[in-house]
């Protein structure tokens, strides 16, 4: 009698487990979260100041980009390009200028990306979790299994 009861309990547990599994799933929204940080791939967002100066622009600090920042008034007018680059060096931050576009997706020794407290400002790889997380500023720890 006891064995039959145990068997029934086990069967119910298996059935319930199957049901729960199906109901737990849902898909990612077809609408993207708001852009929190701009990077080279999506292009610079006008008026956003460089990350190194407390802003939200994580574009590669090229000479061209430096001129854009100057034009937009997001960096002090007296700062030279060399001084600007020195800020990155002082904090030990690597960018695409250091190695060319390395394609490590912020997974090398300098990672994670600076927006998540790392030392890497290398452009992330489009079509990956890390790419979306950097731009949206949302770290999906659970999906990083």
């Amino acid at each position: 009698m006891l064995q039959t009861k145990a068997l029934i309990v086990i069967i119910i547990a298996i059935i319930l487990n199957g049901c729960v599994t199906v109901s737990k799933m849902y898909l990612k929204s077809p609408t993207s979260p708001k852009v929190q940080y701009c990077i080279d791939v999506i292009g610079h967002i006008e008026g956003w100041s460089p990350w190194i100066l407390g802003g939200k622009c994580c574009c590669t600090p090229t000479g061209k980009m430096f001129d854009v920042y100057k034009k937009e008034g997001s960096i002090p007018s007296e700062m030279s390009y060399q001084q600007f680059l020195q800020l990155f060096k002082d904090k030990g931050i690597v960018t695409d200028l250091d190695y060319g576009y390395s394609g490590s997706n912020n997974r090398d020794n300098h990672g994670p990306h600076v927006v998540f407290g790392g030392k890497s400002m290398i452009t992330p790889t489009p079509g990956t979790d890390n790419y979306e997380e950097v731009i949206s500023g949302i770290r999906k720890e659970k999906s990083r299994k």
Partner: protein, 437 residues
């Protein structure tokens, strides 16, 4: 009683010594198929550096699986190193003595040397890594090596992987070598006339080189294949999105029913036949199949070499068994069914025109396509990728995706979900097979 325990301990010790390496590979492959790329990398990353792994005959397969996981995680630097190590270990020259010893071993315990299509695709993925990090010269070299590694069973079946020629052509364009690019794309249209992007690239090159008439012919061919909403403009450097999608599971090996010492390829079981691509809810249409891995595996060459090795192996084993009594107990000749089981089943490509200055949500709907039933969208085979930016046609880089029932999109209890879906897929496959019959 005590001796029983000693034997048990001995068996456990042997299993732990020799079984661990293979079980790591099985575990890693299984994780990869479920879409757990970080888990796959974690299982193999440190393990491949151990002496035990390096001595394992399946070492090249571990490296290929590790490389695949790193590639899918967008870590091209790490993937490059792993693909490179895998290629080196597959093409390693071994001494004559070692060759002799290897011939006496059970096939499953021999050093894995890879097959022509595996070597070709290892070079291909390495080439893609270099392409993505803008090193077009190195990428071109890899695509050339991939072509050379692709040996066919019959004349015309060698050097016939369309995507390799296509990517090689794109490399030549970036390197401003339009004559070589033209040769590469001509091979694309020769291999796969229904693949529109060979015609497209030939149009652009012919326009650039001033061959107007030829350009018109190529352009009309492109227009005849691609639906209007998916057509790129002929003039100028139009904005577009370039997607390469790896679909399904690659071929696997089973022992031959008659000659069990040989292995035959079987088509990987998967239900997705194609992908419909939408950008921010604008319907664009389907991708175009460039290559089928099963065809590549089944038509690959090198059979004469394999047969030669088999004959020598059998002779050597017979000689030893006639000299040493009971030696047949350890001289078995079962088929080698090992293979690169994280390879995909098909490669699909789409180059779509988009408006500039906008970041798109790339929506991929994977479908099954049966003649009588038409397009059937597959549950759970939907992927959304955010912030996909338009690129100028001359500078396009692929967004590389894989058709897993997208676990990336699901944020709760990955393992149990994938198991549920796997069961559902198995059911779908059975149903589709019935309908196809």
């Amino acid at each position: 009683m005590k001796t029983k325990y000693i034997y048990l301990l001995l068996v456990l010790a042997i299993i732990s010594l020799f079984g661990c390496a293979s079980s790591s590979l099985v575990q890693a492959t299984s994780s990869f198929q479920k879409g757990h790329f970080i888990e796959t990398e974690t299982i193999l990353k440190h393990f491949v550096e151990t002496k035990k792994a390096k001595n394992d005959p399946a070492y090249p397969l571990m490296l290929l699986t590790l490389a695949d996981s790193q590639f899918r995680l967008g870590d091209y630097q790490a993937a490059l190193k792993s693909y490179d190590a895998a290629i080196k270990s597959m093409t390693l020259r071994i001494s004559t003595v070692r060759t002799g010893i290897e011939l006496l071993k059970n096939e499953q315990n021999r050093l894995y040397r890879g097959t022509p299509h595996e070597l070709a695709f290892a070079h291909y993925y390495k080439g893609i890594c270099y392409f993505q990090i803008n090193d077009f010269e190195k990428a071109r070299i890899e695509f050339t090596q991939a072509r050379l590694a692709d040996k066919g069973e019959k004349i015309g079946q060698e050097n016939d992987i369309t995507i390799i020629h296509f990517m090689e052509g794109l490399c030549y364009i970036r390197l401003n070598d339009f004559d070589e690019a033209k040769i590469a794309f001509q091979k694309v249209i020769e291999l796969k006339p229904e693949f529109p992007y060979g015609w497209l690239e030939l149009t652009y090159i012919s326009d650039k080189l001033g061959f107007q008439e030829k350009a018109d012919i190529y352009w009309n061919k492109y227009l005849a294949i691609v639906p209007k909403e998916q057509q790129l403009s002929r003039v100028g450097d139009s904005s577009c999105v370039f997607i390469i999608a790896d679909l399904g599971k690659g071929p696997y090996k089973t022992p031959n029913l008659i000659f069990s010492a040989y292995a035959n390829y079987r088509k990987g079981k998967y239900i997705e036949d194609g992908v419909e691509i939408n950008l921010s809810k604008n319907k664009f249409g389907k991708s175009y199949n460039s290559d089928d891995m099963y065809f590549q595996a089944k038509s690959e060459g090198g059979f004469t070499g394999e047969l030669g090795r088999k004959v020598v192996s059998v002779i050597a084993k017979s000689a030893i068994s006639s000299l040493i009594p009971f030696s047949h107990l350890f001289l078995t000749s079962s088929a080698d069914i090992r293979g690169w089981y994280t390879l995909s089943g098909e490669i699909h490509v789409a180059i779509l025109p988009v408006k500039d200055d906008f970041n798109y949500v790339l929506n991929l709907d994977f479908y099954n396509d049966i003649k009588n039933r038409g397009k059937q969208y597959l549950d759970h085979f939907e992927q959304n990728w955010y912030y996909i930016s338009p690129q100028q046609h001359s500078k396009i880089k692929p967004v590389y995706v894989k058709s897993l029932y997208d676990l990336h999109n699901m944020n709760v209890d990955h393992i149990s979900i994938s198991e549920t879906i796997e069961k559902q897929n198995a059911k779908n496959i059975r149903q589709i097979k019935k309908e196809k019959k």
